[in-house]
Symmetry: C2
Subunit: 337 residues, 2 copies
Amino acid sequence: MDKKLTIKEIAELAGVSVAAVSYTLNGKKGVSEETRKRILDTISSTNYTPNVNSRRLILKRSFNILLVIDGNDSPLNNFFYIAVINSIVKQAAGKGYNIVLATVNSADDTTVLENMLMQRNADGIIFLSDISSKLQGEIEEIGTPFVVIDSQKKAPPYPSVHADYTVAAECAVSHLTCNGHTKIAMLASDSIPEYFICTFEGYKQALSKAGLSVCPEFIHSSALDEDSVKNCIDTLLALPEPPSAIFCTSDIIAVDAMNHLQKRGYKVPDDFSVCGIDDIVLARYHFPSLTTVHIDKDAMGRLAVDMLDKLINGERVEDIVLSSCDLIVRDSVRAKN
Amino acid sequence: MDKKLTIKEIAELAGVSVAAVSYTLNGKKGVSEETRKRILDTISSTNYTPNVNSRRLILKRSFNILLVIDGNDSPLNNFFYIAVINSIVKQAAGKGYNIVLATVNSADDTTVLENMLMQRNADGIIFLSDISSKLQGEIEEIGTPFVVIDSQKKAPPYPSVHADYTVAAECAVSHLTCNGHTKIAMLASDSIPEYFICTFEGYKQALSKAGLSVCPEFIHSSALDEDSVKNCIDTLLALPEPPSAIFCTSDIIAVDAMNHLQKRGYKVPDDFSVCGIDDIVLARYHFPSLTTVHIDKDAMGRLAVDMLDKLINGERVEDIVLSSCDLIVRDSVRAKN
DNA sequence: GTGAAAGCGCTAACAG
DNA sequence: CTGTTAGCGCTTTCAC
């Protein structure tokens, strides 16, 4: 490729001043229709594009959005992420932002972040999950706008777009009660207390609407990974009156649960119905495919970019809660006979 | 946060010239030990970091690597991608690069790319799959270095790091023959001819080593998605002498195959053994978990960044082929009795 | 409506 | 070894 053209050369070619070129480039007025046309012509005939780095310097803007992913997260959560990321990238491109990726490996690893921010390398940040108040403090001190996606808190202390997991839980459990199940276990993790609380709330509401009451031995809050899920299931199966359906607060838990049930020789949904939350791709590919509540990852990404863009431009924003009652019926739930 | 410091202010604070500061910042010699120390002190006491955008402008470098993902790709391939991406981001950070994301929606959608390149917004590009020769031509014309990860070609016409899928296929099929299987079907897609050819090669080699010959009706090259896999399986099952094992050229195909087999009432591995290639996370979470050949996505990402870095610095590089014979034994293969 | 000119913060000659 | 200075390519006053 030939040497890169500069605005100065374009100005010379068009026989005008650099200011005129800059103005038409940025759609500002102060240029006559005639010269504007001439400039536009030479721009398109030369394939000129302004040098971003130069603009970044003078405008004190990087046109970058930093996307922070927790590198320690379970690989399956990444499935949730990648759907969100796709949506973010698309929306950001439309608004003239680049998405630059950063993974943090522990909640305290803020060095990478700080470097990027100090260097003015990001106009704003999107976090794909809740952040510590320590980190929050540091970022606010630096003054870079940020938004948090998929917060698990009921009232996040920062701009966020997240799903209503109480509604999602109620939606899932109602599906179970509507299918005639009366003994419904709940498999959850209390590692994120807020998440446990709101999904439990939804669970209780659904039971109550169906005229059922909560049975304490059906509630498990230690379902974190394959092994712990296994323990929960074993405990449930050992009950004098085991449940006929299992509500899992995430698809990951649900998949682990189904696998262990099947390993122990039970059939899903014949012997046990299972329902999850999230609708990660895995839900569709598992055998049996998982009935679950869809969380709109596309909207999350899109709205987060919009929100951040507003923040960057100094506008006020309000938290967005995506109501989440979109049940995806697949093969893991069967009507209780 | 207080106003951002500039190199000039640091120089004043330290009582030296900007040049001295710049030199120590960039580790160049020409500064006495004494002044260097004084500069370092004031830098660390002020938390100064140089403005990247300024450096970008003068050095004509963006310190960005563009990571191009095919947005049309099957969601499950993303499983493959996300592992590679994690590795890329980590390695790039270590070398001072940002990873900026771009998704393209068709193989011909070069607009995003061109814009970024024209704007000097990327020092190099990493593609997560093969590119068209048209696109290759355009990028080469612009002169930006690039590397392709996970190319399916036997001799990619561009710098690349990819797995040896012939070896991987042989590894998978040998595992089947070692388990006593003699009637082994192959489920593949010829949508990427090169991939079909090399995996078929590995399949043939493994059979030949076991003293077996290829049975044409066992070879299916139209296994692209759920429906087509279903058709292949049905055809196989209708054979007078159906196979006892099925080698799938990707984990995705394998998962679809297992699901359909199970839907039709067969058991894996009791009735049919299934083996894949890739070792995507799904392989571990499926029921039954899938025996497959591990492809080292971590190495792919890491080596690709190293290679691109060399290219950016004007060094010569050679293609990297990761030998891929790391069998992960799980539950989908059983010895033929 | 148009053009000249002053920087944005940094690097790298160049002169001392 | 140290300081001065000319840009990198662009935006944006400020005169004309």
